[in-house]
């Protein structure tokens, strides 16, 4: 290569060094078309070494005309080596890169497979766990329900027994209390009680009242008779004045006696009255007037003797009036 250059530039005046500016080769091509009849000239200046005859190339059968420029084969080897070497190196690099990528992909896939299988395992265990847990929950709930039911049933039974016992007593007690309050009555008995007995009592009362009235009337009669007799007796003494002063003391004595007798009578009357009163409380109201009058008489007689007569006369008068 260098020799060719030096050869071409040897024609130029200056030498070629690395500092010299690149220079285009002097134009060596024919600018005008040659006539075909023109014979070959020497030297031919070729721009392209491929066409230069002085260069020996490969298997060329051209005759060597003139001095050789350079041996193509020898010179081209390093060039080719570099070119081809670089190309091959580059392609090797690319192929290796591809291979590396493929390896990466393969290992990625492997990892993914292993991961998938692990994942499946995890999911299976999870699923198992979930199933177990659900089963446990279900069993627990079942047990709880059983226990609950059991509890409830026993409570129900207890309540039932208790209620039965309680209520067993209820019926007789109800009937007993009703009977005691008199709701179960014998109608005949009731009838007798309500209808007959009051009437009977009424009649008895009436009968007793009759006898009472009779007795009272009798007492009154007796009293009246006795009073009349006394009055008459006192009048008789008055018509006889000689015995008056003697009668007077006798009178008061007789009065006292008669008083005593009347007192006796009164006492007996009051006794009978008290007896009557004791016997029949119910008839108290009817006798109240007469008994109160008698009591008044008694009180008056106890208090003053003389006033008695006037009082008696008054009472007699009162009695006579009705």
């Amino acid at each position: 290569m260098a020799s060719a250059l030096t050869d071409s530039t040897s024609r130029a005046p200056s030498t070629y060094t690395y500092t010299s500016r690149p220079r285009a080769l002097p134009c060596q091509r024919r600018r005008y078309r040659d006539s075909l009849t023109q014979p070959d000239e020497e030297p031919m200046h070729y721009g392209n070494i491929m066409y230069d005859r002085r260069v020996i190339r490969g298997n060329t059968y051209a005759l060597q005309t003139g001095p050789l420029l350079f041996d193509f084969d020898l010179e081209v080897t390093p060039v080719l080596e570099v070119l081809v070497g670089k190309t091959i190196e580059q392609s090797l690099l690319e192929v290796m890169e591809e291979e590396e990528l493929a390896n990466l992909r393969a290992s990625q896939r492997e990892y993914e497979e292993l991961r998938n299988s692990e994942r499946a395992e995890v999911q299976r265990l999870e699923e198992q766990e979930r199933r177990h847990r659900e089963e446990k929950e279900r069993r627990k709930r079942q047990q709880w329900e059983i226990a609950h039911k059991h509890n409830e049933t026993s409570r129900k039974i207890a309540a039932r027994a208790f209620a039965q016992r309680y209520l067993a007593d209820l019926l007789p007690s109800v009937f007993g209390s009703l009977r005691d309050s008199g709701y179960f009555y014998d109608p005949i008995e009731r009838d007798i009680e309500i209808g007959f007995l009051p009437w009977l009592m009424n009649e008895v009362e009436k009968t007793m009242e009759y006898s009472m009235v009779g007795r009272t009337v009798l007492d009154m009669l007796i009293r009246e008779v006795v009073e009349n007799r006394l009055y008459m007796y006192e009048h008789q003494r008055d018509s006889h004045p000689s015995p008056e002063p003697e009668d007077e003391p006798g009178g008061p004595e007789a009065m006292r006696e008669s008083l005593e007798a009347s007192e006796f009578l009164e006492q007996s009357m009051s006794q009978t009255q008290r007896l009557l009163l004791d016997r029949d409380d119910l008839q108290r109201t009817t006798y109240d007037e007469s008994s109160s009058q008698e009591r008044k008489f008694m009180e008056e007689s106890e208090l003053s003797g003389q006033d008695e007569e006037t009082a008696r006369r008054e009472s007699l008068g009162k009695e006579e009036l009705p």
Partner: protein
């Protein structure tokens, strides 16, 4: 050799479809300007040049810095379909790198792209699906798609698209999104659609649909829906599929769906135990792992336990089996041990 003259003209333009990119750090600013040019051709050429550049993450980062993304977003609404195709291609290439994904999230490109879901040009849509698929490779990207509410749109597209390649791409996207959050998908009726895809003729679609169902049934609601829509019998049928990875994904979906009691009994009725036992001898590790786990779930039900009691020796053999990678061996052994303990459980 022929004597040919040297041409004074510039060398022929090898690629007429691209603009010549400027050298070094001038490349992107120049392209950025050309993207905004009025001339359609310039824009197209600039896009094609950009496609080539975007394979280098450093250029992506630079593009983000100079606001190239906004221009690209604007170009998505261009009337010319070639422009749109090329723009989506650029975005797809961008999304293959993590810097690019970051750019997606920063500039809210997901939403702008979603308007193209109904684009008439299929190439455009393919690039779009590819872009989404690349985006959801990271969880943050999947979150973004979910949060923008695109899942229901994608599910509907899954049903609508006829091309199987598109279905595969959409399924890829859905698989990774469902891993993050399945609720929106479940609300948009994804289970029946996936069920339909399970019986497709294309094995990739079957496999991806089964994988999607696997991710769906991780959540509890998903499990219930899977049982509700009677997907389990189909999954059991897929356990006898000739293709290995379809069987493995079906076993995985069953593994998650049988965690709930409904799923267990549905699987037992569909007689899943037989095929699952066969799957235990599969060469794929993931298939064996999934099958072991699914059998463990089924052994929790008394009927399953009865049947599996006869097969305890297989699990015991698995317990002591060595494997080249220690963590996989350990995982297999542990799964086998758990299976044995569940089978031999006496209440």
């Amino acid at each position: 050799m022929a004597q040919s003259g040297d041409s004074m003209e510039l060398s022929i333009n090898i690629n007429a479809a691209q603009v010549t990119t400027a050298y070094g750090h001038r490349a992107l600013p120049k392209l950025n300007e050309e993207l905004q040019s009025e001339d359609l051709q310039t824009r197209q050429k600039a896009l094609m040049a950009l496609c080539d550049l975007m394979h280098d993450p450093e250029y992506i980062y630079k593009a983000m810095n100079i606001g190239c993304m906004e221009n690209l977003k604007a170009l998505l609404k261009d009337r010319n379909s070639l422009v749109r195709i090329k723009t989506t291609e650029v975005l797809y290439i961008t999304a293959s790198h993590s810097v690019g994904r970051f750019a997606f999230l920063e500039h809210d490109i997901v939403l702008a792209l979603s308007f193209l879901l109904n684009d008439p040009s299929p190439v455009c849509r393919r690039n779009l699906y590819k872009a989404y698929m690349q985006l959801v490779q990271v969880p943050r990207g999947a979150e973004e798609i979910i949060s923008k509410g695109l899942i229901s749109l994608l599910v509907r597209k899954l049903q609508g698209e006829v091309e199987e390649e598109f279905q595969e791409l959409i399924l890829d996207t859905l698989v990774l999104c469902l891993r993050e959050d399945a609720t929106e998908a479940l609300n948009s009726n994804v289970v029946p659609i996936l069920k339909h895809k399970l019986i497709s003729t294309n094995e990739n679609i079957r496999s991806k649909a089964a994988h999607a169902l696997l991710n769906v049934s991780i959540s509890r609601v998903g499990k219930k829906q899977v049982c509700q829509f009677d997907v389990i019998p189909i999954l059991v049928h897929l356990l006898k599929d000739p293709v290995e990875h379809v069987r493995s994904n079906a076993a995985g979906a069953l593994m998650f769906a049988t965690v709930i009691t409904e799923g267990k009994y549905a699987a037992l009725e569909a007689e899943a135990i037989g095929p699952l036992l066969e799957l235990l001898h599969s060469p794929m590790t993931v298939a064996r792992l999934n099958a072991t786990k699914a059998l463990t779930m089924l052994a929790e039900a008394p009927e399953g336990r009865k049947v599996l009691q006869a097969h305890v020796p297989i699990f015991r053999a698995m317990e002591v089996e060595p494997h080249e990678k220690p963590h996989i061996a350990e995982a297999l052994q542990r799964a086998a041990r758990i299976a044995v303990s569940v089978i031999e459980f006496k209440p």
